[in-house]
Symmetry: C2
Subunit: 241 residues, 2 copies
């Protein structure tokens, strides 16, 4: 099966969680909107198409044969077992999905540090509000959520284990991406938190060291973090030393 | 199977989407934290329990036999087929879930109209920011998302149909709750939008008129909307006439 991923071509964003899964599994896929202007047009056309039985509200979405599936966590829930990146049992799959949905909640918090007032405005138009929101993020949400994920990891397999079961899953890839993104956006905050989350830090390194993700991270398919995505480095929002 | 629902006892909140599904199906369930102080303590104890293999980050969560499942949309994804409120096919279940995840996105927007800076602060401590965020909500997010759901409904069955397939699903219950909650929180905004979403308005009424939801809505199990929940009526955040 050749999968087609549809996502904005210039940011990692939510699409990156799907890319990481496809790349890690060595899946056959096309990142449609990155195939030049024609690819982008195909994505926009498909989103508007009245033929589409199950229209997405927004990217990312995935075409898998006759299915079109949107919502990042839903896409991973579908792909996980097919790519060997999720448990077989229903209980295991629900647990993986529950964790991924908590990642999604975290992403809203991360995004809203620079867009607390609205995604329709530039960051420059909501800077005072961003400072207040980022304080709440640094002092409460980031330590709480990272602490929760660290606890799940320690409870499952300790410092050498995975987030669930005994093998790599898409949830581990999401933890890699969270650590990488937070280090980019909030380096000072992360320097302070990392001693408390040794398991997640080790997990990040183990994921990055596996052949497929390691190879992917060196290609041009891996976009750089930038100030158009979810993880943005605005020093004034980071911890002040 | 007797289900146990764990959610904050004094608000509808996210738990209401699960209550509506259980009530509509006539399921046997206990709303644990509403069984007095002891029930609330049971919820808090269970959340902290080191015995719990799959700990939730936050309520709501559901106990179903040996399973403990968190994240509202995940709970509905699990319950849907078991309560006769979701399609049987995998494609149908993914579509229902995709729509519910879009409802969850919408709930974040609705909540953040009164809490754009942080859930740790009172509304009174973030009123100017709330006014700005609510403007974005009224002018963009609310019409966009309601318009999207209206389009899905019209595409599936028109004004007398359901959100998916040919029978009531948990997505229809969520549409009922969205319309009811938005009418409570933003009556002026909704008066302006409702002519554009005749399908959703009719769907709201049809859900409310079915025997089980109709009976539930008159009981004390249905909490009133209030200013501690997601849908809060702060007139200054509504459209100004």
């Amino acid at each position: 099966m050749r999968y087609e991923l549809f996502y904005w071509p210039a940011i990692q964003g939510r699409g990156e969680f799907v890319r990481l899964a496809l790349e890690t599994a060595g899946a056959d896929y096309v990142d449609v909107a990155r195939e030049g202007a024609a690819g982008m047009q195909r994505m926009l056309d498909l989103m508007q198409s009245p033929e589409l039985k199950h229209p997405p509200f927004a990217p990312p979405f995935l075409r898998a044969g006759r299915l079109v599936i949107a919502q990042t966590a839903n896409i991973l829930h579908y792909l996980g077992p097919r790519l060997g990146l999720a448990p077989d049992s229903e209980a295991g799959r629900l647990w993986a999905h529950q964790l991924q949905l908590t990642v999604e909640d975290f992403l809203v918090d991360i995004h809203d540090t620079h867009h607390p007032i609205g995604a329709n405005l530039y960051y420059e138009d909501q800077k005072p509000e961003s400072r207040r929101r980022a304080k709440y993020f640094r002092e409460e949400r980031a330590p709480e959520l990272l602490g929760y994920f660290e606890g799940v990891l320690q409870h499952n397999g300790g410092q050498r284990g995975w987030m669930l079961g005994r093998s790599l899953s898409y949830v581990d890839l999401s933890m890699f991406q969270l650590v990488a993104g937070l280090r980019y956006a909030f380096p000072k905050l992360m320097a302070g938190i990392e001693p408390d989350i040794p398991g997640l830090v080790a997990l990040h390194d183990r994921v990055a060291g596996r052949p497929n993700p390691a190879a992917y991270l060196t290609t041009q398919r891996r976009l750089a973090f930038n100030e158009d995505g979810i993880f943005r480095h605005y020093p004034e929002l980071d911890k002040q030393s």
